[in-house]
């Protein structure tokens, strides 16, 4: 390469850039490494204004880091993607990708062309997914309801609330089961989004509970309103209930001082009319996304109705769905008049304001359709609450995925070890250059059980050897030898430091989490391995550029 390439900026190529990329990714993975698994530890992240986040969720940690290196950014995106698509397994996906990259880079340094490594990785990935689907998973229907609790328990056990995993597992499974619905196309869905998670400072995490119906972290608009109405007819509006103000470009000009008073009165009356139209339809709970004037509040107080202002659009839509009502944008009718149609009202058994901890909450109980549930989380401090929320979210995702995809596989490093053994055998059947890459892929997968053991302060080498021997026995077993075949569910028991049957002991993970993690990790590793040139252009020095040249 001749120096005068004529490029403005820095340029790295070949092995240099690959090495730099791999180092950057490895750095990230090293940060996450220690938070993997049930014995993983948490990170405390302090940002530049002193806000503290305590977590062991991979996606959250990476999201908080200000990553500069472009290859590392790919990893952050990867973990974010896993979070979005699956919601769980965000740490392991990054660790696997980093391991794949490290090993890929070593192969390239050993003289194998990157494209051969990539081809091998892609082949291995496809084999993995196929093998998992065929051999390493069990249909949920075959295992009963307990399986959902186990899935939730497995996810939660690696989190801060691990000690309460039983309690939260029940909470999570109950919550997700209550939001089940069937789409128009006949697919059963368990939308995590339909579960409203509320956080309230105070009491212990064990005090967390499910609230049937919908909870809002808001107060009623005025103290004079009742704290409880039953049965509730809920009007949901998406406009201001403030005193009317003329639009821009409309001027009020009066010549007579008396007229001024009438105009003021009129401004009030316009809103008053709207309110009375709503109230006359029988509504006794009014939710608005906008504000309500103090002046207008008295009408609600007089009518003994609860009015809540500044409800978020997201919440009001969900409430509309839950209560069978409609959100009104305007009261206008096609004839140019204003009217509130009682058909827009939502119905619930009860709407009440209750005090939980230091905050007031509005609860809408006994909604007409039960498609929404709220989880009220309690905790001793804010950091804890945030972390509990993330953990519960992960668990909700895991259970929802399990229900939707209907397959689970064994946890505790069982799947990774089984795949590693399988791939090793598979690699030997190939006579091409990809063989080495596939063997390395198999090695890379074992980073998960290894890291699990290390984080639990156990002898990783010893345990892994045992685990591998079990899986090898399972895969070579005769088709009739059921007992030996069951060894394929073997995973690590990190508390007692031994190998056990994860499937039997209820350490389960949704298949989707695992297969997507492997797929995404491979794609990310391939994206980075394919790069052999990094060009950083520096900002163009604006118009002065011509002068510098001279």
């Amino acid at each position: 390469m001749h120096p005068s390439v004529g490029v403005f900026g820095e340029r790295e190529s070949g092995q240099d850039v690959r090495g730099a990329n791999v180092t950057a990714v490895a750095t990230l993975a090293n940060i996450l490494r220690s938070s993997l698994g049930p014995q993983g530890l948490d990170k405390m992240l302090v940002d530049d204004i002193g806000d503290v986040v305590i977590t062991n969720d991979g996606a959250t940690i990476l999201g908080q880091l200000e990553v500069q290196h472009p290859a590392a950014k790919v990893m952050v995106e990867l973990s974010h993607l896993q979070d979005q698509e699956v919601g769980d397994g965000t740490t392991s996906v990054v660790i696997i990708a980093a391991e794949l990259l490290k090993r890929g880079n070593d192969l390239v340094r050993g003289g194998i062309h990157p494209t051969s490594v990539i081809a091998g990785y892609k082949l291995a990935m496809k084999e993995c997914v196929k093998y998992m689907q065929e051999n390493l998973c069990v249909k949920v229907d075959q295992l009963g309801k307990e399986v959902l609790l186990n899935v939730a328990r497995t996810t939660i056990s690696s989190k801060y609330i691990g000690a309460e995993s039983d309690f939260f597992a029940h909470l999570v499974v109950d919550a997700i089961s209550s939001v089940k619905f069937v789409t128009e196309r006949g697919a059963t869905r368990y939308p995590v989004k339909a579960i409203n998670v509320l956080k309230c400072h105070g009491k212990s995490t064990r005090e967390s509970m499910i609230v049937p119906g919908y909870g809002l972290q808001l107060q009623r608009a005025a103290q004079g309103m009742p704290t409880r109405v039953s049965p509730a007819k809920i009007a949901m509006v998406d406009f201001n209930l403030n005193r009317y103000r003329a639009a821009l470009g409309v001027q009020v000009q009066v010549t007579d001082p008396k007229e001024l008073e009438r105009i003021r009165q009129k401004e009030m009356d316009i809103t008053k009319d709207k309110i009375s139209k709503i109230l006359s339809s029988g509504a006794n709970v009014i939710l608005t996304t906008k504000g309500i004037d103090d002046m207008c509040l008295k009408y609600f107080v007089e009518a003994k109705a609860i009015a809540v202002r500044r409800v978020t659009t997201k919440d009001i839509r969900r409430i509309a769905k839950a209560t069978g009502g409609h959100v009104c944008l305007t009261l206008a009718t096609l004839d140019g008049d204003e009217k509130f149609d009682p058909g827009n009202l939502g119905h619930a058994d009860e709407v009440c304001e209750e005090r939980v901890g230091d905050n007031d909450f509005i609860f809408i109980k006994g909604c007409k359709s039960a498609r929404s549930t709220s989880l009220l989380l309690r905790g001793a401090n804010e950091f804890m609450l945030d972390e509990v929320e993330r953990s519960v979210h992960d668990a909700l995702c895991a259970v929802s995925r399990t229900l939707e995809s209907n397959y689970v596989c064994a946890g505790g490093g069982a799947v990774e070890t089984a795949l590693a053994i399988y791939l090793e055998d598979f690699a030997r059947t190939l006579g091409s250059r990809e063989q080495l890459a596939i063997a390395e892929f198999a090695e890379a997968l074992q980073v998960i059980p290894k890291q699990l053991a290390i984080n639990a302060a156990l002898d990783a080498t010893d345990l892994l050897a045992k685990l591998r021997s079990h899986h090898a026995a399972a895969q070579t077993a005769a088709p009739t030898d059921e007992k030996k075949k069951d060894l394929k569910w073997c995973g690590l028991d990190l508390v007692h430091g031994k190998v056990r049957n994860s499937m039997k002991d209820g350490v389960l993970e949704p298949l989707l989490t695992k297969s997507k993690a492997i797929r995404f990790a491979t794609e990310a590793a391939v994206t980075i391995l394919r790069i052999d040139d990094l060009i950083k252009t520096i900002p163009e020095p604006e118009p002065r550029q011509g002068e510098e040249d001279e």
């Binding site: 005068s4 490029v7 409309v250 000009q253 009438r262 206008a332 204003e338 052999d532 990094l534």
Partner: protein, 535 residues
């Protein structure tokens, strides 16, 4: 910066002392060096085993690509002649759409050949002249070598598109994207004008999420930026849709800055509010009366295109609304749907409506939603929806698909095929050498250099695939001399084989235009003998 200005400064510093002859030599040499450096920079991206470049721009944005034109565009090249090569790659992109890397690599090799000839003391004009002849002859040879293709033969077209895609990041999905590209172009082909395709008739939209496998061809429209308005609880699914496209706003008229509405007494306020409602109600009623049940509203910057009230009315009239349609999309939408854009309410009549079997909003995972219009009456247009799991892949998939579309278009433009894998270049090299020997004097020398320079393509292909380039190229030369004119570098097997059997095919246009364009660029660079900086 220092790197860039060094050659120029060197010239400036000594310029006065140099004799005229030395100076021009110096300028020419620098130009060649700069241009060759650019060619070297993108060499590693050539071919199916080519690698990607990661380019980080000034604003920290990252692009990962192996498309020659994109790399060069992003590289912010400074040297004027180096910029010419960037332009060259762009020209190839416009002309053929593919082969943007090879055109620069060939130009670099030709410049190398020219430099050698210059060192022997040949006059630049003579070299340029001979190169031009060689290039013309090359086009002839390529034509002879090509086989004509029938556009109805879908398989052959797919093979072509797949060859182009095989060198990209999305090569794993080539089997899926290639048929999409072929079908899209064939749909957009106007029977009245069978020699060209307007790629504007193919609307490529991208949406983050899913994987590249989810990419699909849609006969109709897909909106990814514009959403079905649901704030008023309107419909999100319409069968048997009558679609209207309006370019006016469904909001109460706004006064100009100088004009004011003046309210003199309190009753006027009532009238004002009522009037606003009536105006909107009238508009919506008129629209609904035409039988329209899907309304596309063009984006407006002057006024709100819709207000809460008009959306509410539209929902009451059971009309599905998609707003924020971009101005530049209007023409495409109209042609697809067979509707006419309506600029004022009075002109909104039922004959302006287009028809679609279904308009619906679709959840595409994550936060994203798209609006899809299918079963349309219009002809000659098609949409492709690209999906990928991250922004970088998404952008690269779009570029790759563009290349594949261009390849198919090249075939439409010039219905002939030649094999890929360096076979045509090697064949050219052989034939030109033969032809060169029949030429008199200096020309013969130049043509020989030209012919040898073309070997850079098989050489680079082999090099990028991790093979021994010298071994491969000599072997290839040998096979072509023995008359196997379709022998090429088989990257997958790492050996020489008949490339036609491997189904590695490309349009003739890509190669002819690559040779022609690179020769022209080289001629231009050779003819420069002075560089004057002016303000």
């Amino acid at each position: 910066m220092a790197q860039v200005s060094a050659p120029i400064q060197a010239w400036k510093g000594h310029g006065e002392q140099l004799s005229k002859n030395e100076k021009t030599k110096d300028v020419r040499r620098q130009n060649i060096v700069a241009a060759r450096a650019v060619a070297d920079a993108i060499r590693t991206s050539l071919g199916p085993r080519g690698m990607d470049k990661m380019i980080q721009d000034a604003k920290e944005g990252v692009v990962i690509t192996n498309d020659g034109a994109t790399i060069l565009k992003q590289m912010a090249v400074q040297h004027p002649t180096a910029k010419m090569l960037v332009e060259l790659s762009k020209a190839q992109d416009v002309e053929a759409g593919d082969g943007t890397t090879s055109v620069v690599v060939i130009a670099g090799a030709l410049l190398g050949a020219a430099e050698m000839l210059l060192n022997k003391g040949l006059h630049p004009q003579a070299i340029a002249e001979a190169f031009l002849q060689a290039s013309n002859k090359s086009v002839e040879i390529l034509r002879e070598m090509s086989t004509s293709v029938d556009l109805n033969d879908r398989d052959v077209l797919i093979k072509n598109a797949a060859t182009s895609l095989s060198s990209k990041v999305v090569s794993q999905n080539a089997a899926q994207l290639a048929p999409i590209a072929v079908d899209a172009v064939m749909k957009a082909l106007d029977p009245a004008n069978p020699d060209n395709v307007d790629l504007n008739d193919i609307r490529v939209v991208k949406k983050l999420g899913g994987t590249v496998d989810d990419t699909e061809l849609v006969e109709g429209l897909v909106f990814t930026q514009q959403k079905v308005v649901r704030s008023a609880g309107g419909r999100s699914f319409v069968k048997d849709a009558n679609v209207g496209l309006i370019q006016f706003c469904l909001s109460p008229p706004k006064t100009d800055i100088e004009n004011n509405i003046t309210i003199k007494d309190y009753q006027a306020m009532d009238r004002l509010l009522r009037e606003e409602r009536l105006i909107l109600a009238k508009m919506i009623k008129q629209i609904a009366a035409t039988g329209c049940n899907v309304l596309l509203i063009q984006k407006s910057i002057l006024r709100d295109a819709t207000t809460d009230m008009s959306l509410d009315y539209l929902a009451k009239a059971k009309i599905l609304v998609v707003q924020d349609i971009e101005r530049e999309d209007v023409e495409f939408i109209c042609r697809t749907l067979g509707c006419e854009p309506v600029a004022s309410l009075d002109a909104f009549t039922s004959d302006k409506l287009g028809h679609a079997d279904m308009v619906c909003e679709e959840d595409v995972g994550g936060e994203g939603k798209i609006a899809r219009v299918t079963g349309v009456k219009g002809k000659g247009t098609v949409s492709v929806l690209i999906r990928a799991s991250n922004q970088l892949t998404l952008d690269e998939a779009e570029r790759s698909l563009h290349d594949a579309l261009c390849v198919v278009r090249s075939l439409v433009k010039e219905k002939a095929l030649i094999p890929g894998g360096g076979a045509p270049e090697m064949e050219l090299s052989q034939k030109l050498n033969e032809w060169g020997r029949s030429l008199p004097g200096v020309q013969s020398l130049c043509v020989k250099a030209f012919a040898d320079a073309l070997e850079v393509i098989p050489y680079t292909l082999a090099e990028n695939a991790g093979l021994n380039p010298i071994e491969i190229v000599t072997e290839l030369r040998n096979r072509h001399a023995a008359g196997e004119k379709h022998a090429g570098v088989n990257v997958r097997k790492g050996a020489i084989s008949d490339i036609l059997e491997e189904n590695v095919l490309q349009p003739l246009l890509v190669n002819t235009s690559a040779v022609r364009l690179s020769t022209e660029a080289v001629m231009l660079i050779l003819k420069i003998d002075d560089m004057v900086l002016s303000r």
